[in-house]
């Protein structure tokens, strides 16, 4: 599997060059220079939804939490444990001071 991962890593750097008759860059630039009103319909609801999502800090934060569910759970448990520990210690300290 490690080997496969290594090759996947290399595969990410692969670029497929379009055929020689196709100059894709020029075609795209030409298209953008001559945009019609009809082309603007390309921004459909699906795309608007996508744009809204990836421009939302809240969505991206939620996504990070979802993707790191295990880490968040562990950190929460550690956090709650630490809080309980400090509360108990603080109470003990307070009782000790009151006694003296």
């Amino acid at each position: 599997m490690n080997d496969l991962n290594k090759f996947f890593k290399f595969a990410k750097d692969i670029i497929v060059k379009p055929s020689k008759d196709t100059n894709i860059e020029d075609k795209i630039i030409e298209k953008i220079r001559n945009l019609s009103d009809e082309d603007k319909t390309i921004l459909d609801n699906n795309f608007k939804e996508f744009l809204k999502k990836y421009n939302s800090r809240f969505y991206l934060f939620k996504k990070t939490l979802k993707e790191n569910c295990a880490l968040v759970t562990v950190l929460s448990i550690v956090g709650v444990g630490a809080t309980i520990f400090f509360l108990i210690e603080y109470n003990n300290y307070k009782n000790y001071r009151n006694k003296n």
Binding site: F10, I32, I42
Partner: protein
């Protein structure tokens, strides 16, 4: 020490690349068409390659590339830069490809050969790995073999595998995009990797 310098150079280069993109995006937002054209020249092959492996069709990959850049051009004013431009572009390309696959699944049963795609005039370029020449060519062949297997995988295996292993999507993200449970996605990716490994092993035995 040499390694440290290389790392510093790499980080500097990476930083410059990001800043450069940021600057180009800012200029494009302000209506500078030449800055946008520079972005097109910089990323059109990247978008084409992503679409090519997902759709397995040169013409469709070309159409998707045009569509993606038109979308970017029309909406760049709304790009807030919460992720890098390249990440945003990649997500947009994948999103557009998935929409296309949903609308017509004509690529689903198509048997494709990467060799024939290359014969069609496409060429596969592989950026040089940091290793010796002999190893580089060996690895290049293996990578090509792997891609040949991937393009012929069933769609339910191919798309999740590409998203996970070539596009770095998380399992959760893939499950949301494809509307399938995370468990199914994990199983399909596991099976796809197994098919690749088994096919490579068989070829090596011969």
């Amino acid at each position: 020490m040499v390694q440290k310098n290389n790392l510093e150079d790499f980080n500097k280069e990476k930083e410059e690349k990001i800043i450069d993109d940021k600057r180009l995006v800012e200029r494009s937002k302000n209506g500078d068409k030449s800055a946008f054209e520079y972005l097109v020249r910089k990323y059109s092959k990247y978008v084409y390659t992503t679409a090519f492996f997902m759709l397995r069709d040169s013409q469709e990959a070309e159409d998707i590339s045009q569509e993606v850049f038109v979308k970017v051009f029309l909406s760049i004013g709304g790009f807030r830069g919460l992720s890098s431009f390249k990440t945003w572009l990649r997500k947009l390309t994948v999103n557009t490809c998935i929409d296309k696959i949903r609308i017509k699944s004509k690529t689903a049963d198509k048997k494709v050969s990467l060799d024939s795609m290359i014969e069609d005039g496409n060429d596969i370029l592989l950026y040089e790995f940091n290793q010796n020449v002999e190893k580089f060519f060996q690895d290049k062949e293996t990578v090509k073999e792997i891609l040949k297997i991937i393009v012929n995988l069933d769609e339910s295996y191919r798309i999740p595998l590409i998203l996970r292993d070539l596009q770095d999507y998380s399992y959760v993200e893939i499950s949301e995009i494809l509307n399938k449970p995370v468990g199914t996605i994990k199983t399909n990716i596991h099976r796809a990797r197994k098919i690749i490994r088994d096919t490579l092993d068989e070829k090596n035995k011969k």
